[in-house]
Symmetry: C2
Subunit: 593 residues, 2 copies
């Protein structure tokens, strides 16, 4: 980050430079009343950056709000920079709009309420339903496009399980942008412009080098979408990155080829049904049958949206079926696990004993490539309590013409096209961009008129970044055993100034330093507590917990030497700096950090 | 307002200086799809500053958002200036908190909803229920006080009737501050500090000279509160100002003494019951009885919260009963109109014929001072269809020892203590400050410990200002027949630069001017539309509707003379200015406006 007095003065309009601990009504807490499920909640609560109002709902206290505002400010600057125009849409949004897109019923996280006049409204968790008719109202001619609007606004999600502090809340601050285009080419061009803006944001936040552009599911709208995923041990997403490249995929859609398994037995053995009652899981089954897990098979029956249609999918036992992939291959809209009744009707057996052998002809079977090249493998016998072993393609059932990739990718899998192995890591989603195609424009019949007066549908994209989620993510990513460590760009203050002891001279000098920093726009939190109960240990611990990049300590001892102690929060390095040199020293520190 | 390049550069961090009409996706509208009930809604919608999502719910479009942000910025600066610390509390707030204060059921405008986990929550219309336990968590010792926190946040009110555009909405932006004190003296001191901050805000908004500090009802919490009321013909409040002073009262609490009426008849006439069936209103009654309205009497029966207690209140016919005053005098908590059954039971007559004569002894009677000195007056006969005329104190009923002030003040009334007449005017409430005493601290058992370790309850105050309401108010106050007229401090842009015609040289020069203004931080909306269909008339009308303080017009004609046309939106004055002189000219204009 570059910092100089001019920039600082500018920023100070937004973030006044000074605060004294004695003015800050918030205090740090050593212990929380209840255990939190995440590091970010624990540290932010202990440090008094946020307050929990209920599960998944937080208030932002002075230091937390400063971080939040700084993140929002960076995001706004980069959005403005790519021509997105800021607006502010309402939280309350009428049922009619959600009915037009079909999401009034399909979106589970929609908070709904009834007004005094009997009207039903939603608390918007996202704004396609508002922004589409809004832009449509003003833009009809090809000359009006492209358009991109954005907002920074509180969003609401009726999550059954809020978790991970600021990472998955019921009320959270979000930047959402929406773009409108007259052609696929223009949409794709702008999609990359937004991608670049996002990359700049992550660079400015200090996480550019560990943030990946990851292909993800496009949901019902589109073939694909993209997430920005920041590498982090505590992340809930699993990222598959083609080794030696930057090509990344979310686990949910990562194409994968199972590594070949060499089986010891070379020739087919006699097929046999083995009784095995109530065995749960492939590990247990393999053990019971005394075969390797790779010889077991998972066969799952699904029903599609077409009445009565049942399909079977099979993978090698150590894999799981990926329903997103399967849906795409089948080309169906809905896919749900077959009910116990359906399983019984189709296989003749209870759930847990399905196999591909002897299935009724009308059941389409999809086999994963992990099934390829196996000999003497196991499979449900379609008979309650029985497993068939030593099944072989060719002899017992025909080898399918096509094997598919319908498995959830695993560490050790191969990227099929390149043949390269995957590097797999945990990450936190810190943003996503999404082609919406004509999903919403067609719901609202939003068309533009071209040069010849002909009408064509508008193409849309959306671009989201959770401002409060970023705040939580930065804690997950940068904290250590002492507390948080804020990147310079979003730290609540640049400097934590700790005056030690009860000597007036120390506090006079601290006050002077405080003012000097203020004058050049360096943001200082001055720990001016003179209470006997607050010793240096407490002050240092508070600083470390709060994660402000540097601490300057003034005490009788340092004052004797006309110096201060300068502590780098990140490295823990302590340097003695002459008081006269501290201002230029800090400036340099801020510039290089 | 003072403006110079330095200030501008600073502001530009918040409000980038430039925008071209062609980049702005919004367009003005000549006609609205439906008639609006207020000038602010009509003009803001026509100008494309806001979008109506449903009754009382608006989105803010680029120009509207700029105004909103500038208002919020001024408010934030003045709050910071009086030591209030910014936080951001949640919208969702748990039922328990509202039950503790008793407002879960008593607050009619509370939006309530149930979450996926079955928990009931409110959408906060105000934040006492959140802020009180929040500050309580951190502040317990006398040393921790005073504390004042504030936020700028969307608020929600389940209004049965949203109206007047941004003035009374269901979702609106608000600044709410809350202060906490250990003594009444300290509270009173800070209350005046906040008052002063509010006055500074109104001065900066350009409405200081027409904004009044008005005593208003304290509701259930407190004896009084204060509103800031800006004089405006379209305002919904009526303000009573003691002539020649700045002492103002909201109509709801204005103490008043009725002007004496001289009655022509000097001696008592025989009392008589006159039949008069189904006569509605005192005007009609007076006409029917051939007496002046001043001779009629309104007698109203009320029930209090004490089971079975009924009281009667009487005013001269041309007044109404003020229930707030009456409650205070009786010293009761609740007061409701007696039911028809109660009226029948007590008076023996249907509703509409109550009088003070012949009432049961246990009914306490309160008479307004407007009853004083009357002779031969009318009164309900406590007999269905009958009115008694020529009633006289002394002869027909005892003159009460005390007359009270229990009337709704009217124009022409006298301020009782000073004896001076009132000046009465319409106004819009643009803010209010409110002593909360121990109302909320006692709900949450919020106490502080003094020097001796003794516990005492905390005193609170709250300070509200509707940011979006201010925006609507400024339109009501400053608009003219052509459109809005924004004060310099909150105008979306300083200058509307209109290039006229289709000549390249004009647009080249306009572009140059646009950049020059940008460089010194003067905010310009550049109307760069070259579409043949958009003539000068449309551009000028758009400017006037949007209400930007000045318009600079460049055309072939002005370019020939190396000049521009400068139009002052407020006065309509047009000046020809040399292009080389326009920058310093505009600076001067901005400084004096």
């Amino acid at each position: 980050m570059e910092i100089n007095s001019e920039i600082c003065h500018t920023l100070s309009e937004l973030f006044f430079c000074d605060m004294k601990y004695s003015q800050l009504f918030v205090k740090t807490q050593k212990e929380l009343p209840a255990k939190e499920d995440s590091r970010n909640a624990e540290l932010l609560l202990k440090a008094g950056f946020i307050q929990k109002e209920m599960a998944g709902v937080f208030s932002f206290l002075p230091l937390g709000l400063r971080v939040l505002n700084k993140i929002a400010h960076i995001v706004r600057e980069e959005m403005n920079h790519v021509g997105a125009i800021e607006i502010l849409m309402s939280v309350l949004s009428p049922k009619e709009n959600w009915e037009r897109t079909g999401r009034w019923n399909s979106m589970g996280v929609l908070y709904k309420l009834e007004t005094a006049t009997g009207k039903e409204v939603a608390l918007s968790p996202t704004h396609e339903e508002i922004v589409t008719p809004l832009v449509q109202k003003f833009c009809r001619s090809h000359k009006d496009f492209p358009v991109c609007v954005y907002q920074v606004q509180a969003k609401f999600r009726n999550e059954p399980r809020a978790k991970s502090g600021l990472l998955r809340g019921r009320e959270f601050l979000m930047k959402d942008a929406y773009s409108f285009h007259t052609s696929q080419e223009d949409f794709e061009r702008y999609y990359l412009v937004q991608k670049k803006a996002y990359e700049t944001i992550y660079n400015r936040l200090g996480i550019g080098d560990i943030t990946y552009y990851v292909a993800a599911s496009g949901g019902d709208f589109s073939k694909f979408s993209h997430e920005f995923q920041t590498r982090c041990e505590t992340g809930e997403d699993t990222i598959f990155c083609i080794a030696g490249t930057k090509d990344c995929f979310n686990k949910e859609i990562a194409e994968s080829q199972a590594p070949l398994v060499t089986y010891e037995d070379k020739s087919p053995l006699p097929m046999e049904d083995v009784k095995g009652v109530g065995i749960i899981g492939v590990e247990e089954l393999a053990k019971y049958l005394k075969i390797s897990v790779e010889k077991t098979t998972k066969t799952i029956l699904f029903e599609t949206e077409n009445k009565g249609e049942v399909i079977a999918a099979a993978v090698r036992g150590n894999y799981d079926i990926n329903e997103i992939k399967l849906k795409t291959i089948i080309g169906c809209k809905e896919l749900r696990l077959a009910t116990a009744e359906t399983v019984k009707r189709v296989t003749g057996a209870e759930v847990g004993y399905a196999g591909i052998l002897n299935l009724p002809k009308e059941i389409k079977v999809f086999m994963d490539d992990s099934m390829k090249g196996r000999i003497n493998f196991e499979m449900g016998a379609n008979k309650t309590d029985y497993h068939t072993i030593n099944v072989n393609f060719g002899r017992d059932l025909p080898e399918p013409k096509t094997f598919y990739d319908i498995k959830v990718a695993q560490e050790g899998d191969i990227h099929p096209t390149s043949g390269k192995p995957y590097e797999v890591f945990k990450a936190i989603e810190v943003g996503n961009i999404f082609p919406l195609a004509t999903k919403f424009s067609s719901s609202f019949n939003f068309k533009f008129t071209d040069e010849n007066g002909k009408e064509f549908p508008i193409l849309m994209g959306c671009y989201g970044i959770g401002i409060s989620r970023i705040m939580g993510s930065l804690v997950e990513i940068f904290s250590d055993d002492k507390g948080m460590r804020w990147p310079m760009a979003v730290t609540p203050f640049h400097i934590y100034l700790a005056a030690i002891g009860r000597d007036d001279a120390v506090y006079d000098q601290a006050e002077k330093l405080y003012k000097d920093f203020q004058n050049v726009g360096i943001e200082v939190l001055y720990d001016d507590r003179r209470d006997k109960k607050v010793g240096p240990g407490q002050k240092f611990a508070d600083h470390e917990l709060m994660g402000i990049p540097a601490r300057i300590v003034l005490s009788e001892r340092t004052l004797e030497e006309n110096s201060v102690e300068f502590v780098d929060r990140k490295t823990g390095n302590i340097q003695k700096i002459k008081i006269d040199d501290i201002l230029p020293f800090v400036r340099t520190f801020l510039n290089v950090s």
